[in-house]
Symmetry: C2
Subunit: 456 residues, 2 copies
């Protein structure tokens, strides 16, 4: 009998940080874990090399009459730092109460394990399940799926399918399923400001030149208005307002502002006017600072004027913004605001196109949808209602999964996204965890969905 | 025969970084080197413990009729980072051309070695030199001489002397001696801004709260005016304009703005109006950012909103500003400008009172000066003129040596400061070095000065 929790523990022990070359062994461990597990389940497994971390492709079912579902996941995880904030070591999974703790438990090892477990159970019952299944598990999601589009283009034929089925998205509480129908896009970049040719003593030379840290502060301080909007002309031009049913679904979700504020641990919100915090996260673009560095950061004092200061910046995008257009708008403003006395280098990081899919029977302006996709949405709605006792919510999410747009663009496939991680799961942060009750209900739901799909 | 360059090499090999507990062995090595060397020269050496790094006190001469000169130095050095910018390892001294490279060669191991060598030569010639000499070599100068004032208070009797003689200051070119007659003071502090209780995923939560990095940028951007002045009401209130002879000495120094700009490697100066860069460094106070940190700083992207952002700030002070008054003025402004949505913690770092001493026969408004101090200034003027071929320049310096104010306040002693490091010596920066020609002339000058002082 397939024990998904034990399997997940084994999977989390593989320290698969894609951003840092020091974790090479963990990346290989995670690959071997996934290929081994799917191989045991009877899948034909292929490890497809890319320019960096390979993609695992695992297939079963070869009757072209059967529906073909691609199940997407990623085996890489975020860096674990700051390590001193973890209550238990990030790569030694521990169960406490109804949660399992460890880097990657929720993003994305636990949710992928949900679908692997559902498939394993179905195949135990019926080895001849009339369904073509292809797992596509990549290793670069946390660094922007840099090589995934190239992989898709090169393997287009092999990946002809009806739709993508996956869970790299969230739900709001452990008692109601959320189907994600939209994701924000991204345009990430680094700014480096250079002042003097080398670090200088701030006593001997302080007071006559522009300090690159001051220039960074002045530049970054110029990028927002006091009311929390992005202060760059044209930034909001392409933004499409959400449809009324989307705001209604959010209201039905019954989210509580005070609870959210307490969860974040903030004194007050800082949200652009006209949007609740829950709306702002889903319907508005942002410009966020993800890291500043420059000068001395250790203990005590070092009286230095650094040669360079660096800022890491990401913009989140919403329909119909595009990374290319926003890049042009933002880079032009950033360049124009480079303080005198320093030089600027902008380094592009990854991009993701924002995504929306309208579930059947929702929109006043429905789009053409493949019957297979509509059938999947209806199967999910029914299974989730049965397992969780309430109909699922259809919500957009604030995060970015750029590959979703790539799947749509390259393969022409939409994605049915079952939310499986909770706001409390601490994704990308210390003490990441995954809720075992959600895991159990997720497996039941997925098993029912796949059973329904196998009916053709 | 005492070989000062070989001795200096041995001294520099001791990695005596006072700011970082990892360099404990190097601190001990430097102490042992100094105590061993002075002991061999016939000094009675005492290692006086403090709350952190001990002070070395070494005495010779016990006839109370003889003049008593305290020679000050420090055996600690700045941290060597960024290590990758060093052409040779920081603690493996190397001679290339007319320079010796290594951390601490110029600040302060080389200059202290100049006076040790001068004393060694004099004592070789005349073991009964009629001069009381007390070396006071501390280990916390680079971390603000935190315990030095306490040491002075506790050892006041032992340190009754005529004046302090020392070299922890600079000259402008290797062919003319500079006597430092003023130093800027300092008021250093760290600001920590806290937003959310823990790091957050910038996709899931970005756009609804004040990012601590943005708050840091807004706060820091508010602290200067566009013309390069500090933008805090009252900051300049106590500043005393320099006397005309001081500006004249600077003009006589013949400093070239373009040469200085090329040395700094900057596109343009950013100096408050009404001051040349050379004047601004010496006569104006500053507020400089020495380090920013917060969020992800590694390779690639981490889409995080950090819980905390930190800035390290130092103000340089000029007469008659005081650290306490400036602290009150600056902290009040910084607190008042703390952006909404974050909380602020200010941590005080070290302080130093600015210092000026007027050499005899210079000022239109001369101050009472001890005959011994005036005699020393005249001896230095004569020796420097003979050895360097030109009369010395009397200049203030932009750096801070807070202990100078402590020596004045606790022991009532002024300091005669012979400049021995050059702008090119890269103090506090990678590839620090010391000019061997300056070293040689420094030893000759110091030997003549001490010979003259011994005449009583």
């Amino acid at each position: 009998m397939f024990d998904p929790v034990e399997k997940l523990k084994e999977y989390v022990r593989q320290a698969s940080v894609s951003a840092d070359p020091q974790f090479k062994a963990g990346m290989l461990g995670a690959q071997n874990f996934v290929t081994g597990l799917l191989g045991e389940m009877g899948f034909a497994v292929e490890v497809v090399p890319t320019a960096l971390h390979p993609v695992i492709v695992a297939k079963r079912g070869d009757n072209p009459q059967w529906p073909h579902v691609i199940i997407y996941g990623h085996y890489d995880v975020q860096p674990p730092d700051p390590l001193d904030k973890w209550a238990t070591p990030p790569f030694e999974p521990v169960i406490k109460g109804e949660r399992i703790y460890g880097r990657g438990t929720a993003d994305n090892k636990g949710p992928l394990m949900v679908h692997i477990a559902a498939v394993a159970r179905l195949l135990e019952k019926n080895p001849n399940l009339p369904l073509r299944l292809t797992f596509v598990v990549e290793g670069e999601e946390e660094i922007g799926s840099k090589n995934f589009k190239t992989f898709l283009l090169a393997n287009k034929e092999k990946l002809r399918a009806d739709f993508v089925y996956m869970s790299d998205n969230g739900l709001l509480s452990p008692d109601r399923m959320v189907i994600t129908v939209g994701l924000r896009g991204m345009m990430a970049f680094d700014v480096e400001l250079t002042g003097p040719a080398s670090d200088l003593h701030s006593g001997m030379h302080g007071g006559v030149l522009m300090n690159p840290l001051q220039a960074l502060a002045e530049l970054c301080a110029s990028l927002h208005t006091a009311d929390g909007r992005v202060n760059i002309p044209g930034f909001y031009d392409a933004v499409v307002e959400p449809e009324p049913w989307e705001r209604e679904q959010l209201l039905e979700a019954g989210l509580d502002v005070k609870t959210y504020q307490a969860f974040l641990g903030i004194k007050e919100f800082h949200t652009p006017p006209g949007y609740t915090p829950f709306e702002a996260i889903r319907f508005l673009p942002t410009l966020e600072f993800n890291g500043f560095s420059g000068g001395y950061q250790g203990e005590g004092t070092k009286t230095v004027i650094p040669s360079k200061a660096r800022g890491k910046i990401t913009c989140r995008l919403v329909p119909n913004q595009t990374p290319d257009a926003i890049k042009e708008t933002v880079f032009a403003a950033v360049r124009a605001r480079c303080p005198q006395g320093v030089t600027m280098t902008i380094t592009e990081q990854h991009h993701a196109t924002p995504y929306v899919v309208i579930p059947p029977d929702r929109s006043n302006t429905p789009k053409n949808q493949s019957p297979a996709l509509a059938r999947c949405f209806r199967a999910v709605d029914q299974a989730a209602t049965e397992v969780w006792g309430k109909p699922p919510l259809y919500l957009r999410e604030g995060g970015s999964v750029g590959l979703i747009a790539d799947l749509k663009q390259v393969l022409g496939l939409d994605a049915v996204m079952l939310g499986l991680f909770l706001p409390e799961d601490n994704l990308h942060a210390p003490n990441e965890s995954f809720h075992l009750g959600v895991m159990k209900k997720g497996i039941e739901t997925s098993e029912r969905v796949l059973t329904e799909l196998a009916k053709g």
